[in-house]
């Protein structure tokens, strides 16, 4: 009997496509919610992305009771406590997160407090602490990369203790993810590129790391194909709404894939580099991906070779001998990075970022070695291995 075993869970209703925002009132009232609070950040408001959400609700006589638009890039326990206070004072009954990873994680944490009670979010940190369904919660992503709208985790900084608190529970998952192409139409080129490469990394690692499974594989390959087909097209024509929608859907699909199969060394390095050098996460993903795939190559040759079909299309796949497809897949990712470098200077090496000093590599390696995602990397990476990968990624 085979020892193969897997788990797959995604109860999030995906509401995607043209006029998706206008479905929010119906979906919210279907859950008995009538007094939603919006949680977002200043950048989203300044980009004019709140208006279509608010208008869509008001046209259906659903008043947005409160808007909190001051979520910082790295949210904290204090911010979560303040927003929960406003939610209670305004007698809200549901939450709509509009934004990227930080706004979404903050909204997840606020939902814990307003549903479970109390003011100390740290009391709910860890896995499986939350035992009950939370308040109705919708997510409207404004970037196409994090996949936070379909993940059961949130990370909030406890600034007093200088630690990051992880929260893990399937109850953190939103009731619905609203994917509307209007929300990503104005993303600047370098953010479009970095976030799409983040999603591509989610899908690639989901498909090649240890917890891959048949269901996450299906989402991962579909996401890789959508990104390969549309990213450079959108970079050339940012107002391509169809292409934007494809990227946004790819991000959600990659999120579903990796939240059910985890990620590997690319993320370990990315988390460590983000913590030490404060580089954006998507940029780190794009930067490290080919070097880690080369390091893992002999362990992941078969699944990586399969990805060539989705990265480079059926003609290239058919024309490449089976034993060269894994290398060809890495080459296709490198070509995509080169094209992005030409279009928006998305760095391909640590040196090209201009924000990393070579003397920091040892610290990055040490921190990456203790990152949770390294557990799911198909190879057992030692400190020396990680340093070697970093040296290749340096220049």
């Amino acid at each position: 009997m085979t020892n193969k075993y897997y788990e797959f869970f995604c109860p999030v209703k995906v509401v995607a496509g043209k006029a998706a925002l206008e479905h929010i009132p119906y979906e919210l009232t279907s859950l008995g919610a009538q007094r939603p609070m919006i949680i977002t950040d200043k950048g989203v408001r300044a980009a004019g992305l709140l208006e279509p959400v608010v208008t869509a609700c008001e046209e259906s006589e659903l008043d947005i009771v409160s808007i909190y638009d001051d979520v910082p890039p790295d949210s904290s326990t204090a911010v979560v406590r303040d927003i929960a206070g406003i939610y209670r004072a305004e007698k809200c009954d549901s939450i709509i997160a509009v934004g990227g990873g930080s706004a979404i994680d903050t909204a997840k944490a606020v939902n814990i407090l307003v549903s479970e009670g109390g003011d100390d979010i740290a009391a709910y940190a860890g896995a499986g602490v939350i035992k009950h369904p939370l308040k109705p919660f919708f997510v409207v992503p404004t970037t196409a990369g994090t996949g936070s709208e379909v993940t059961a985790v949130a990370v909030i900084a406890d600034t007093e203790k200088s630690v990051k608190l992880p929260f893990t529970s399937s109850f953190l998952l939103p009731n619905a993810a609203i994917i509307d192409p209007r929300m990503t139409l104005t993303l600047p080129p370098h953010i479009t590129a970095a976030t799409a490469m983040d999603a591509l990394t989610h899908a690639t690692e989901a498909f090649t790391c240890m917890a891959k499974n048949p269901l996450s594989d299906a989402y991962a390959t579909a996401a890789v194909k959508k990104i390969s087909d549309n990213l450079l097209r959108v970079m050339d024509n940012p107002k391509d709404a169809d292409g934007r929608l494809e990227l946004a859907q790819a991000s959600t699909m990659a999120g579903i894939a990796f939240s059910n199969s985890m990620v590997g060394l690319v993320h370990s390095l990315g988390h460590a580099t983000g913590a030490i050098c404060h580089l954006p996460h998507g940029l780190c993903m794009s930067l490290y991906m080919p070097y880690v795939l080369e390091y893992n190559l002999e362990t992941i040759r078969q699944p990586l070779g399969e990805l060539l079909l989705y990265l480079d299309g059926p003609e290239a796949y058919a024309a490449t001998p089976a034993n060269r497809r894994a290398e060809a897949a890495i080459a296709a990712i490198r070509r995509m990075r080169d094209a992005l470098y030409k279009k928006c200077k998305l760095p391909r090496t640590l040196k090209e970022t201009g924000q990393v000093d070579e003397s920091q590599l040892d610290a990055i390696a040490a921190l990456a070695l203790d990152d949770g995602s390294i557990m799911f990397n198909p190879r057992e990476a030692t400190l020396e291995d990680v340093k070697a990968v970093l040296q290749k990624a340096w220049a």
């Binding site: 020892n3 075993y5 897997y6 499986g128 240890m210 917890a211 390294i374 057992e380």
Partner: protein, 181 residues
């Protein structure tokens, strides 16, 4: 009829095996922290007094070790003197048996959601590396290859035999001491 009588015996034997393996591992973790510099280096990053537990949910077999400082572990047996800092919990005795009988690698068990981590993930990753090094030392290579993700390429036979002998000797003495007590 016979099968239905045999099944409870098999389940009891499985529980006894898991219990025994936890005792061996607990003692061996204490022993390897006294003889291996790499394990000591890994352990030194843990706070002094750090309590680590491996257990089977909900109230099954368990092992508890404490970092006493300077990279040295102390095996507490199956119960902790106070609340543990990090707990790795198998969801079922069957899952613990799969890992401890080397039918499923520890890393694969994590990937298969056989167990959950309650505590700092970074420390859990570190303790998993310690467990892997222990298994690489004390198990014959062919068995160890079934237990760890990648058998360390730089672990050669003389070093392995020397370290394994010292670990087994210490484990045996600890068992004798426990029996006398």
């Amino acid at each position: 009829m016979l099968a239905s009588r045999m099944q409870p015996m098999a389940l009891h034997a499985r529980r006894l095996y898991v219990n025994l393996m936890f005792q061996v591992m607990g003692n061996a973790l204490q022993a390897i922290s006294e003889v291996d510099g790499k394990v000591q280096d890994e352990a030194k990053a843990l706070p002094d007094g750090f309590l680590f537990e491996m257990m089977v949910m909900p109230n099954g077999p368990s092992l508890v070790i404490e970092h006493k400082g300077q990279g040295r572990f102390h095996y507490h047996g199956s119960s902790a003197p106070r609340a543990v800092d990090l707990s790795i919990q198998f969801k079922h005795i069957a899952h613990a048996f799969l890992v401890l009988s080397f039918q499923e690698k520890t890393s694969v068990a994590f990937a298969n959601d056989r167990m959950i981590v309650d505590g700092d993930i970074g420390y859990a990753v570190r303790m998993t590396r310690v467990l892997n090094r222990l298994e690489a030392f004390i198990l014959p290579r062919l068995v160890a290859q079934r237990a760890v993700k990648e058998y360390p390429s730089n672990l050669h036979l003389p070093e392995k035999i020397m370290s394994a002998s010292r670990i087994y000797l210490k484990v045996a003495s600890q068992f004798v001491e426990t029996a006398r007590a």
